[in-house]
Amino acid sequence: MTTHSPDADDPIVVEGLAKTYQVTDREGGFGAAVRSFVKRKYKDVKAVQNVSFRIGQGEIVGFLGPNGAGKTTTLKMLSGLLHPTGGKAIVLGHTPWNREAGFLSAMTLVMGQRNRLSWDIPAADSFLLNQAIYRISDADYKSVFGELNELLDLKDIMRKPVRQLSLGERMKCELAAALLHRPKVLFLDEPTIGLDVGAQVRIRAFLKEYNRRSGATILLTSHYMADVTALCERIIIIHHGQLKYDGGLGDLSRRIAPYKIIGVAVENCEACDLSAYGQAVPNPNEDGKQYIQVAASEVSAVTARLLAENEIQDLTITDPPIEDIIERAFHE
C-alpha cells in the first residue's frame, strides 16, 4: 500500500477515527408498531471504524465506497459537523468538531445534494452575504471573484434567482459561493451528482484548474468514476466503515486486478475461438476486435503465442476498466 509520506504540515491527519450511531430497531407491521410504542429496542451501527490517513498539501484524493460505506459520515466529521465516538482528526491544525472560527474560515464543504444558496434570490446576493460572513475585504473579493468568474463564467447566471438556474449552473454558483473565502481544504460530497455529462466535464475541469492555481487540498466523494480518474491520483476506499485501500489509482489495478485485457483482430475471423489463450470478455469499444482477459504474468507468453498461431492484424494490451477494479476492491 503506498500512502502519502507523513509531513508535519499535512492539512488533513486522521487517526483511528470511529463513529457509532444508535438507531431504533423496529420491524415492519402493525404489531411491531404497537410493541415498539411500549418498549424500544436500540442497536449500534458502526458507520466508521478505525479509519486513519493523511493527506498532503495540494493533493486531490478520491474518497470511494459503496452507498452507506461511511463516506459522508467521515466528511462530516472532518468538516466539524459530527463528533466522532473515537479517534482523532486534525484539519489545518484544528480539531474540526471544536468549530473554531479559524477552522471554519479556512475550509469549505460542498454537498451536491444540498443547497446552500438562497433559493429565491440571485446567487450574486448570496456571494455578497458570504463576503460579509467570511470577512473578505473588497479588494480580495474582487480578485477572487474575478478568478472564479474566469473559470466558471458566472456573470450571466448569477443575476437570476437560483431557482431558475439549471442544475449545472446552480452547482457552478454553489462552488463559487463555497470558494470565495479561498479555503485551503475542500470537502466535496458528490459535487457532480445529477449533472449531465457536459456539466460534469466542466465542473471537473474547474476543480482541476482551481487546485492547480490555489494549491488547495481536496477530498471528494463521487459515484462517477470519471470524476475520480480525471481528478485523483490517489484514492481511499472504505467499505462497511473500514479503510480498504489507500494509494495510487494505478497501483490499485496492479494489486486488485493482476490481469490485462488483450484485444486482437484476426484475419478472416470475427468470432473465432480464442479460449485457448484466455477468458473472453465483452468488447468495450465495438471496434470489431475480440477481447480476452489474461493474467499479468502471462501477458508476454500469450501474446507471443497469439502472434505465432494466428494471422493478427491488430493487437492491443490494456488495463481493465477502473470501474471494474474499484467494484472489486469494494468487495474484497
Binding site: 423496529r26 402493525f30 408498531a33 404497537v34 415498539s36 410504542f37
Partner: protein
C-alpha cells in the same frame, strides 16, 4: 365499499405512524388536555367579570366551545395535514400518483393523512356539550336537539366543502400555497357567538368563510332562536356547498391532469 376499504387502509397506516412517535402522541394528548383547561380558564376569566355575553351564559359558551372543538378536530385531524400533503404534491408533482389510483381522487386527497389521536378530542367535545347542556338546564326539546345535531353535521360538511374549493383553486393558480391561511386564521372566531362581532366580521364568518354557520348557528337552533325555514336554509346550504365543491374539484382536477399529461 371501495372508498371505505381505502379509508380503513389509510387509517391503519396513520395509526401506525402515530404509534411510532409515541412521545408525540402522549405529549399531544397532554397538550390537548392543557388546551381544554386553557379554554375553560379563558371562559372563567370572562365570566368572573360578567353574567352573560349578549344573553349567552357560561353553559351556552361551554357548549359552543364543544362545537368549536369539534370543528377543530375536523381541521386538525384531516384538513390541515392533508392540505400540507396536497400542496407538497402540487409543488413536487407527486399529486400525479393520486390521480393514477383507481379510487375517487377527492376522497383520496381528503384522507391521505389522518391524525388519529385527535379522535380523543371528539370525546372531550361531547363531554363539553353534555356539561354545558346540564348547566343551561331544561328547555331542550327533542326537535331542537335533533336540529342541533343535523346543523353541526351540515356545518362541518360546509367547512369541508369550502376547503375542497380552496385547494381546488390551486389547480388554476399553481403558486397558491396559502390556500387555507384565511380559514386557519378565522377559525378562532368560532369560540364566541357571532352576534358579538362587528357587522363586517359577522358577514365574513357567515357567508364567506362560514365558521359561524358551523358553530353559532347549531347552538342558536338548540336555544330555540331559529325558525324552521332558517334551519332548512342552513341545511340546504350544506348540501349545496358539498355539491358545488365536488363540481369544482372535478373541473379543477381535469384541468390539472390535462396540463401535466
Amino acid at each position: 365499499m371501495n372508498t371505505f376499504r381505502v379509508f380503513r387502509a389509510f387509517f391503519q397506516a396513520n395509526l401506525q405512524q402515530d404509534l411510532a412517535y409515541r412521545a408525540d402522541t402522549v405529549v399531544n394528548i397532554i397538550v390537548s388536555l392543557f388546551w381544554l383547561g386553557w379554554d375553560l380558564a379563558g371562559l372563567s376569566i370572562i365570566f368572573a367579570n360578567t353574567q352573560d355575553i349578549n344573553g349567552w351564559r357560561t353553559g351556552d359558551l361551554i357548549m359552543l366551545l364543544g362545537v368549536f372543538r369539534l370543528i377543530n378536530v375536523l381541521a386538525q385531524m384531516v384538513i390541515w395535514p392533508n392540505t400540507e400533503l396536497f400542496n407538497r404534491g402540487i409543488r413536487e408533482g407527486t399529486l400525479d400518483y393520486t390521480f393514477l389510483m383507481p379510487a375517487n381522487s377527492q376522497a383520496l386527497v381528503s384522507i391521505r393523512r389522518i391524525v388519529v389521536w385527535q379522535a380523543f378530542n371528539i370525546i372531550v367535545s361531547i363531554a363539553l356539550l353534555a356539561g354545558g347542556l346540564v348547566m343551561v338546564g331544561g328547555s331542550v326539546t327533542v326537535l331542537s336537539m335533533l336540529s342541533f345535531v343535523v346543523l353541526v353535521i351540515s356545518g362541518m360538511v360546509l367547512i369541508y366543502s369550502l376547503w375542497i374549493v380552496l385547494i381546488s383553486l390551486t389547480f388554476w393558480f399553481t403558486k397558491f400555497d396559502n390556500n387555507v391561511t384565511l380559514l386557519q386564521a378565522l377559525l378562532d372566531t368560532g369560540r364566541f357567538p357571532a352576534t358579538v362581532y362587528p357587522i363586517w366580521l359577522r358577514i365574513l364568518v357567515t357567508f364567506i368563510v362560514p365558521i359561524a354557520v358551523a358553530t353559532t348557528v347549531p347552538l342558536q337552533a338548540l336555544r330555540g332562536e331559529l325558525e324552521l325555514w332558517q334551519i332548512l336554509a342552513y341545511l340546504a346550504a350544506g348540501v349545496a356547498g358539498f355539491w358545488f365543491a365536488t363540481r369544482v374539484w372535478k373541473v379543477g382536477s381535469r384541468k390539472y391532469s390535462g396540463a401535466s399529461a
